[in-house]
């Protein structure tokens, strides 16, 4: 098993998941790259933390009234699932179809939206857009409950074309209006009462009432419409039929997937991969699973080009650190704080800055966010009592035949944290720090709590490096 194989698998698991421990990486390398990709694309049971345990311990996650309760509930799932790509895709769709709590005041329905994203995460883009159009949280978010026969509200129709499928420049203002007409009557049950409660942030008399889709035939404009050059008595599903057939839609969705999973910046080599993904999109009848398969199995994805070419998003960073530290594996006092940490880092779950979602890539990093990122990960990985940290030190301990010098400690930690490749300057600085702490003797019989703490201190510092903050 070569270091290159381990490094490639680590790359895949950072992108298609939230990272993996060395033992997991070795198992996956033994399984084979393409086989692992297939497992990721075809998830089985998630084996995530059971709902009954969460709801018994966390009364707030049972009622799901609060924003951060819902966010932390989802983070529990991301931390404990066996299907990391499924959650990563749900996060991708949440970033793309960004829906915010502030207008809805309805965390349970936002979680239902995430369940919809998860259920259709890698299936047909057509199906997903239909389900998105029926999602009551989206309906309220973009005012489709106010889109009536003879009195259209264009908001959802416009964003469906501009932000969710084709991108600006690929349709006309008339197309927007015709699209909106086609989605008249697509609303939620008891829309008037639910919208009133949402606007007043009302929890009375008996807490929130979660939402469901309702189609009102009498409020649907069944007249003739012309959309992207085609004419008919289109309903919403007909519009989506037309949208998904557009090359602009293929380019839009494949580019967004590329930027989320491969690299923040699209190079010439990246453009070629996007073209392949677009071909797969049409060949597979718009199946996201097939598009991702093309990406993950491409020579480009496996090359050095996209390696560490993305800034970890805050949710990825938090979940990755917690998974590696082995914490929060059971209902834990204060877990709702996890959602707050991602907010402090700039990505509050269900709190996108606008309907356009988050500005990703290097924009994740500013001085305030960086401090939060470093502090959180350092706290998780700098405590040798955390089971994942203990396992990492145990792993290191198994491979040593003498006390580890400062430089040897740095190399061992960088290897097990990624492997990540440190710049010479960073490695030298960390080695000096480790040298000042003293040698760590991890051999059985010699290993002490002080040795473990030395390694944990070094891990804490390593998480502050540029290299660790990239995926």
């Amino acid at each position: 098993m070569s270091n290159a194989d381990i490094a490639l698998m680590a790359h895949l698991m950072r992108r298609a998941g939230f990272g993996a421990s060395r033992n997991e990486l070795e198992q996956k390398v033994a399984q084979g790259y393409e086989s692992v990709v297939e497992d990721l694309l075809n998830p089985g049971s998630p084996n995530a933390m059971p709902d009954d345990l969460i709801r018994r311990f966390h009364v707030d996650m049972a009622e799901m009234r609060e924003l951060n309760s819902a966010g932390a509930y989802w983070i529990y799932r991301m931390v404990t699932t066996d299907n990391p790509l499924e959650e990563k895709m749900a996060l991708f769709w949440h970033s793309l179809f960004a829906t915010g709590y502030s207008k809805l005041n309805q965390a349970r329905s936002l979680m239902n939206q995430i369940d919809t994203f998860r259920r259709h995460s890698m299936g047909s883009f057509h199906t997903l857009l239909v389900e998105l159009s029926k999602d009551p949280a989206m309906i309220i978010w973009l005012d489709n409950n106010d889109n009536h026969k003879g009195d259209i509200n264009e908001n959802y129709g416009r964003e469906l074309l501009e932000l969710f499928s084709m991108g600006i420049g690929n349709y006309t203002e008339d197309d927007v209006k015709e699209c909106a007409r086609a989605f008249t009557g697509w609303t939620l049950g008891n829309a008037e009462y639910m919208a009133t409660r949402a606007s007043r942030d009302s929890i009375w008399p008996y807490s929130r009432i979660a939402w469901h889709f309702q189609y009102r035939d009498h409020d649907h404009d069944d007249g003739e419409k012309t959309f992207l050059g085609q004419t008919g008595n289109f309903n919403g599903e007909d519009i989506i039929d037309i949208i998904v057939r557009q090359e602009a839609s293929a380019r839009f969705i494949c580019t967004r997937l590329f930027q989320f999973f491969a690299a923040d910046e699209v190079t010439e080599a990246g453009e070629a991969v996007i073209s392949d993904m677009m071909a797969t999109y049409f060949d597979s009848k718009y199946e996201i699973r097939s598009v991702l398969r093309t990406l993950f199995n491409s020579a480009y994805f496996k090359s050095d080009d996209p390696r560490f070419a993305r800034v970890k998003g805050p949710v990825e960073l938090v979940v990755g650190a917690v998974r590696l530290a082995g914490t929060y594996r059971e209902p834990t006092f204060g877990a709702d704080q996890l959602a707050r940490y991602t907010l402090y880092m700039g990505q509050g779950i269900f709190q996108p800055p606008s309907v356009e979602g988050w500005h990703e890539g290097s924009e994740w990093i500013d001085s305030g966010a960086l401090v939060e990122r470093v502090n959180f990960v350092g706290k998780e990985l700098g405590d040798p009592r955390n089971p994942g940290v203990q396992a990492l030190i145990d792993r290191m301990s198994a491979d040593v035949d003498g006390p580890l010098s400062g430089a040897a400690q740095v190399d061992a930690c960088a290897d097990l944290l990624g492997p990540i490749v440190l710049s010479d300057t960073t490695r030298t600085s960390l080695s000096e720090f480790a040298g000042e702490q003293g040698a760590a003797d991890l051999r059985e019989g010699s290993r002490t709590e002080a040795d473990d703490q030395r390694i944990a201190n070094l891990l804490r510092l390593l998480t502050a490096t540029r290299e660790y903050q990239l995926a």
């Binding site: 009622e63 008996y206 929130r208 009432i209 006092f333």
Partner: protein, 342 residues
């Protein structure tokens, strides 16, 4: 929704309570209720993390008059609570509250004065691990169910341990994260064996007598039962938490009746609606028991969408007139039922 009402069946009476984000009139994640001999209804408000500082016991009467509240506040000081679960009231109107986070029992009087507390994390006699349900027998013995130690421990009201029974497992007398406890008029003990999806019956000193139910959604089956109480005729009432319903069993454990919940506006809720016409008017034109999409069809998700149904029924208790109180944490209210006297 109930099954067909037969002679002697349990019928809906009314709903009490109202959501509140502040102290005073209203409930905040109610987790249990209890009754004093002078006619007060006590409601234990566990509160979620955002409103943790509001943890308290509210007081009202059957006529729904608000009678005040008391607590020592949220925290780890004497008499304070973090995650209170259940309570019992003794002959002297001292209230005993379990706290599953602090592994202890706290005793307060109804003016909020600290009386005593006992317990710490551990497995020895007098120690506890995540105490949940609590019940008080006629001879003033406290029965405390320990979620973490999978046992029932008996105490005097002074906090002296009188022994314990139970261990982890799914056999007779074994438990898996048990929650609520109730006593019948003979002093037998019924435990909601939460993760074993059953109710177990014991003698007062812990001899196994019977087990009722299995995992499932059918009549007489349970999903994570949270609470249990028994009336003077021996009928057993179980809050079937995971199925979001209440089941009634006969004294031999046979299925009798199912309650799904049929909440109406409480007096406090009517007061709210009377001064909020926008919500009242749009509510009146709504269908609050709609047909739902198939992907939202678990009991939990159905209850999140259909307001009259039970959502988070965490406790069932009977008052001195044998009215059945179903405490709903997620809906911040109590639905009250009573067996028809034919």
């Amino acid at each position: 929704m109930t099954t067909a009402v037969a002679a002697g069946a349990v019928e809906y009476l009314k709903t009490i309570g109202l959501t509140t984000n502040q102290s005073g009139r209203g409930f905040t994640n109610p987790y249990d209720c209890a009754f004093t001999s002078d006619g007060r209804i006590l409601i234990l408000n566990r509160c979620d993390t955002v409103r943790a500082s509001l943890v308290r016991i509210g007081m009202m009467n059957w006529e729904e008059d608000y009678l005040g509240e008391f607590s020592r506040g949220y925290g780890r000081g004497d008499g304070q609570w973090i995650f209170p679960v259940a309570m019992a009231v003794d002959n002297s109107t001292v209230v005993y509250v379990t706290d599953e986070q602090q592994h202890r029992i706290t005793a307060l009087d109804t003016q909020g004065n600290f009386v005593r507390q006992w317990g710490e994390l551990g497995t020895d006699s007098g120690q506890m691990n995540a105490p949940a349900g609590i019940a008080l027998s006629g001879d003033q013995t406290l029965y405390v169910v320990e979620q973490g130690n999978n046992r029932v421990q008996r105490f005097t009201t002074s906090g002296e341990s009188l022994g314990m029974w139970g261990e982890a497992g799914d056999g007779p007398g074994q438990f898996n994260m048990p929650w609520g406890v109730g006593l019948d008029s003979s002093g037998n003990v019924y435990v909601a064996d939460w993760r074993n999806d059953r109710v177990q019956k014991f003698t007062a000193d812990g001899q196994f007598m019977a087990s009722y139910g299995s995992s499932g959604t059918g009549d007489g089956q349970f999903s994570r039962p949270s609470g249990v109480c028994v009336d003077s005729a021996g009928y057993i009432y179980v809050s079937d938490w995971g199925n979001e319903r209440v089941q009634i069993l006969d004294p031999d454990g046979g299925f009798v009746q199912l309650l799904r919940g049929q909440a109406t506006l409480s007096k406090w809720a009517q007061d709210f609606m009377s001064v909020n016409p926008d919500e009242r008017n749009t509510r009146e034109m709504s269908n609050l028991t709609p047909e739902l999409p198939a992907h939202l069809d678990t009991p939990y998700l159905i209850s999140s969408q259909i307001e009259p149904y039970f959502w988070g029924p965490v406790s069932v208790r009977l008052d001195s007139e044998e009215r059945l109180y179903v405490v709903e944490s997620n809906r911040h209210r109590i639905q009250v039922y009573q067996r028809r006297k034919d």
